[in-house]
């Protein structure tokens, strides 16, 4: 029971080789089977995410949500899929047909690609890539590309404006995200997701770098283009943004990609900062990690939903200011602090190390809050009409 997938793999491999199939070819065949199963799990999960999202938003807004088809409306997403499949698939006039059709495919593919490096448990994962952290960023780059392709090829002003906003949003918040991704790399000396999970067996990284976890959550929400950073959609101004001209299944792919992306980022938060598959009893039974992984990822996803349905949308200039004038300098100072503290504390025992890192984080957080408070006071003074009048009179 230690490694069921490895055993199954070895058994199938032996079986195939005894049938006279070449070693390399049977390896590729088995990998392919594994990939198809992994992607299928992701897609089935995606179908249920539609239901979960609708149920949760309904509860936030004091409604019931889907409740007609099946118990608690659980079969609602299947009805949605059938509807999407039999809808007409329109292409607007003047659209660039090839690019127009490629964009939703790339959009979903960029999200599915992330699942290749997710360590669901110590023995259940796609591949242990030694540059996995950068691979996440690379998959995100393909997502950005799909947005701009969709916006440009639709031949629609709203779509193009929505795509610009979305891309500005995504590329801006990519910087703090990449900077924060450096921090688990510093702590573990590796870019592999599996190594990062393994090295959190004793303590979760959120204890060592709580500020980094917070910044990662914020930039992940912005990367997803979810509220409060959903000004790319802005239903009231640019009627849903870059995918306005898409209908039927192509729209469904964008939607599915968005939901699965949100869940996957919940999973990343749990892997990078909350121990991933680690939990009580995992060392005896590694398969139990699957359970912990999905619980933690669901909690992460729930927090992202909670923010989405609570916080109102912000303006594009505020969004960019918040990123470039606060989040980027803040994340860079977290990075420098973590690097220096980690290097100078690395010889000490675990309690000293964790305590020192935590203290450094608290000090940095306190300094940041003080600076922000001073700034806000200055701003309020400037904005206050009375003091402005006084200033003009005395001038």
């Amino acid at each position: 029971m230690q490694d069921p997938i490895g055993n199954l793999y070895n058994w199938l491999m032996g079986w195939l080789v005894s049938w006279g199939v070449d070693q390399a070819i049977s390896n590729i065949l088995l990998s392919l089977v594994g990939i198809v199963i992994l992607v299928t799990i992701a897609m089935v999960l995606d179908v249920f995410l539609v239901w979960i999202e609708r149920k949760v938003v309904a509860r936030f807004q004091d409604r019931l949500g889907p409740n007609r088809i099946g118990p608690w409306g659980i079969f609602q997403p299947f009805a949605d899929i059938i509807k999407l499949l039999i809808k007409e698939d329109t292409t607007p006039n003047g659209a660039d047909v090839f690019v127009f059709n490629l964009a939703p495919i790339l959009s979903l593919a960029s999200v599915l690609l992330l699942w290749a490096v997710l360590p669901i448990a110590e023995v259940v994962f796609g591949v242990d890539l030694n540059v996995a952290l950068l691979y996440i960023v690379a998959a995100g780059a393909i997502g950005t590309l799909s947005v701009i392709m969709a916006g440009w090829s639709s031949n629609n002003k709203f779509a193009l404006v929505g795509a610009y906003r979305m891309v500005a949003n995504m590329i801006s918040y990519e910087i703090p995200m990449v900077v924060i991704l450096l921090i688990p790399a510093i702590l573990t000396g590796s870019m592999s997701m599996l190594t990062i999970s393994q090295s959190q067996e004793q303590y979760w990284f959120v204890l060592v770098v709580p500020l980094a976890a917070l910044v990662f959550l914020i930039s992940a929400i912005a990367e997803l283009g979810r509220s409060p950073f959903d000004l790319n959609e802005g239903e009231s101004e640019i009627v849903s943004g870059f995918h306005i001209e898409y209908s039927g299944m192509k729209f469904g792919l964008f939607y599915a990609g968005e939901l699965l992306h949100a869940f996957t980022f919940g999973a990343f938060i749990s892997i990078l900062f909350f121990g991933g598959y680690n939990g009580p009893g995992v060392t005896q039974m590694p398969v139990l990690g699957v359970f912990y992984f999905f619980i933690k990822a669901m909690i992460g996803y729930w927090i992202i939903m909670w923010v989405k349905y609570t916080v109102p949308r912000i303006r594009i200039d505020h969004m960019l200011y918040f990123n470039w004038k606060f989040l980027v300098p803040f994340s860079i100072s977290i990075l420098v602090m973590t690097a220096v503290m980690h290097k100078s504390l690395s010889g000490y025992e675990t309690p000293v190390y964790v305590g020192g890192m935590l203290a450094a984080n608290l000090v940095l957080g306190w300094i940041t809050i003080e600076i922000l408070r001073a700034q806000a006071r200055k701003q309020r003074k400037m904005d206050d009409p009375n003091s402005r009048v006084v200033a003009e009179l005395t001038h």
Partner: protein, 172 residues
């Protein structure tokens, strides 16, 4: 034919065909998208060469940043992008002949070199990522080029921001 060779040939075909399309397409957005296909092919070549770090950096930097910049620039200069008139110089044929000559002479010169048909050594267990970090940051290795790259990027940022913000001074 090993699997590796097949992957190489497919990637090379993608690179060369889309490179030709980059230079031949009239629509500039299409040219930028063809460039992305080329860059992706080059990333596959890096992976074939076991330089995994460079393969992902290729996708992050080139596709995620540089290609996006190109598409933005094309959007900003749209009037010329209506693709009227000839896209090539009058002496394009001369350039074509010159390039073929350069290609042929490069191959001719290289093929007379001893190491031309060299077979690679096995990578073994060398941790190339940590090695890369050490070579970038140890003063005995390539610390200076690394820091100079940073200064270069700073200079590029300052210069580009200065050029892009020139419009304000004109209006005054």
């Amino acid at each position: 034919m090993t699997a590796l060779q097949i992957i190489f040939l497919l990637a090379a075909a993608v690179i060369l065909i889309s490179a030709v399309m980059v230079t031949a397409t009239r629509n500039m957005v299409h040219a930028a998208l063809w460039l992305i296909a080329t860059l992706f092919g080059v990333a596959v070549i890096f992976a074939v060469l076991e330089a995994g770090f460079l393969a992902v950096v290729q996708v992050v930097v080139y596709i995620g940043a540089i290609a996006i910049m190109f598409i933005f620039a094309v959007m900003l200069t749209r009037r010329e992008m209506l693709d009227k008139g000839p896209q090539m110089n009058k002496r394009a044929w001369l350039a074509g002949i010159l390039c073929v000559v350069i290609f042929a002479s490069l191959i001719y010169m290289l093929s007379s070199w001893v190491g031309f048909n060299q077979i690679p050594l096995l990578v073994g267990n060398a941790d190339t990522l940590t090695l890369l970090g050490q070579s970038l940051l140890l003063p005995s290795a390539y610390l200076l080029p690394f820091e100079v790259a940073s200064v270069l990027l700073l200079a590029a940022l300052v210069g580009a921001v200065y050029v892009a913000s020139n419009r304000k001074q004109e209006e005054k």
